[in-house]
């Protein structure tokens, strides 16, 4: 049962991570692969607040999300001011730099990891409700992003991605919107981080590195960029797949490389054979508003 709980837990967390990453990179067109660093900030903030300051878990998790959101604004503001391309470089630098800092500080547990994080224990039967709450939050995230991308804000995001110069020449504050998109996506990653920390109760900097970036990118690309259900499917499938492989009873020395090959192989196959992913996002934005107009136009 514990195994099933952990699997559902991870799937729900990756649904939050992949959909929020798709919001940033797919919908927003903001090229950054540093999404896991905001996952890390949420996780470490929430864990340390609970561990060192005794903050109750239901307060520590949202606090972690807020700190991740603020950190993302601090990264996005200066780099977007120069040019959109700098975001990629600045965010990777931030990701690697912060993880390096975590590795070398005592109060974050160093490279050995942070242990004894307050959380729900399996013995007291707290895991079930915690998993339910996480799944509900994952569903909430999907619905929130679906609502936003289908709203007038979603229309503006599409226009901004298509041509930010024409967009600002119409009076739109594109810079502000880019920061907003990045902040919301990163805040949601921070939320996932807090949820992770108090369930698995162990954090190490290695969990949030470039490999994690690659995994999230795979989920979004395989599932389908710029679609809501694509990353959801990508997260579930790619979380289940490595687990399925473990049932093959292969030696551990083979298992690790096999999973790596599987992920990179999938990205390559999809890039060439089905670039729109399992669930394509479609080339033309169709929001709720459009449907309403059509209803009005009908006699």
């Amino acid at each position: 049962m514990e195994y099933v709980y952990a699997l559902i837990m991870l799937m729900a967390l990756y649904v939050i991570l992949a959909t929020s990453f798709d919001f940033v990179i797919g919908y927003g067109g903001l090229i950054s692969i540093a999404h896991p660093v905001f996952y890390a900030i949420g996780a470490y903030t929430s864990a340390l607040l609970a561990l060192d300051f005794g903050l109750p878990i239901p307060l520590a998790i949202p606090a972690g999300a807020v700190v991740a959101l603020l950190a993302s604004v601090a990264v996005a503001l200066p780099s977007l001011r120069i040019s959109g391309d700098y975001l990629l470089i600045a965010s990777i630098g931030f990701q690697l730099g912060l993880l390096e800092a975590i590795k070398n500080m005592a109060w974050t547990g160093g490279s050995g990891g942070l242990t004894n994080i307050p959380g729900v224990s399996a013995q007291s039967g707290g895991h079930g409700p915690y998993v339910v709450v996480t799944v509900l939050l994952a569903i909430g995230t999907v619905l929130l992003l679906r609502w936003i991308t289908g709203s007038s804000y979603g229309r503006a995001i599409s226009a901004l991605r298509d041509d930010d110069m024409a967009f600002s020449a119409l009076g739109r504050n594109g810079m502000m919107m880019k920061v907003g998109i990045f902040a919301l996506g990163s805040g949601l990653a921070g939320l996932a981080g807090g949820l992770y920390a108090h369930y698995f109760r162990f954090l190490a900097p290695g969990q949030f590195g470039i490999m994690q970036s690659a995994a999230l990118l795979t989920m979004v690309v395989v599932g389908g960029m710029r679609s809501i259900w694509g990353p959801v499917l990508g997260a579930v499938v790619l979380e289940a797949l490595p687990q399925a492989i473990t049932f093959l009873n292969l030696p551990p020395s083979l298992l690790g490389p096999l999973q790596g090959i599987l992920f990179t192989g999938l990205v390559l196959v999809f890039m060439f054979a089905r670039p729109q992913g399992l669930i394509g996002g479609g080339d033309v934005w169709r929001g709720r508003a459009v449907r309403e107009v059509r209803d009005v136009a009908r006699p």
Binding site: S151, Y153, F167, A289
Partner: protein, 252 residues
Amino acid sequence: MSPGLEVRMLCKRFGGIVVADSINLQIPAGRVVGLIGPNGAGKTSFFNLVSGIVRPDAGSVTLGGVDLTGLKTHQRARRGLSRTWQNLRLFSSLTVLDNLLVAPRLYLGESLTALLFGAGRVRRAERADRERATAILERTGLADIAHMSVGSVTFGQQKLIGVARALMNDPCCLLLDEPMAGVEGQAYQTIQRVVRDLAESGIAVCVVEHNVAFIRDLCDEGVFMFAGRVLARGSVAELIADPRLTELYFGT
């Protein structure tokens, strides 16, 4: 005459190339002024400087008496300065109607906080915008293709969408960058009529155009630019008749 757009001593150089050399230009409200000159004269650069895409080295821009000089592009647009683009720059992943719906001068939908905490207000604004966009699409003959993607319509229609989108922006001053290049027939006449209506409703219009017939028929006056400078200003007929300018335009 009301002030309209006023540009004073606008200067800009990129290294050794001067794109704006102390340009003084006034476009009164309700008038159509044509910018004429050979390629590389600085006409599009002038538009980029006025709309804030490019920062000038010196000089000022005011619109209706309001100083726009220190403002960013989107802030200038919110004060009534709109432009179109030579290469259109339509939003390719949006339908024709949605290209207009993101273009009102104030768009509540661009604010995430307005959306999250004032959904009702956003919806009401959206409804009013939709009515206005539908009216503009009818006026420009685009109503039938409102729900098509902008990539799937003809080039003439795309040109019209560019103008319609600028109309949705409800400008006090409109800069049109080669609205007629590659346009003929119905679309040509529609753009002509729309620009004339705009001027009559009191909007200052500035047009960069190589189509001499269009400039002659439509513009109240012409401005001849060469090497980043305003060389002459007068009626379009006068400018065309000036052998000195003709020589500069066609080269020798």
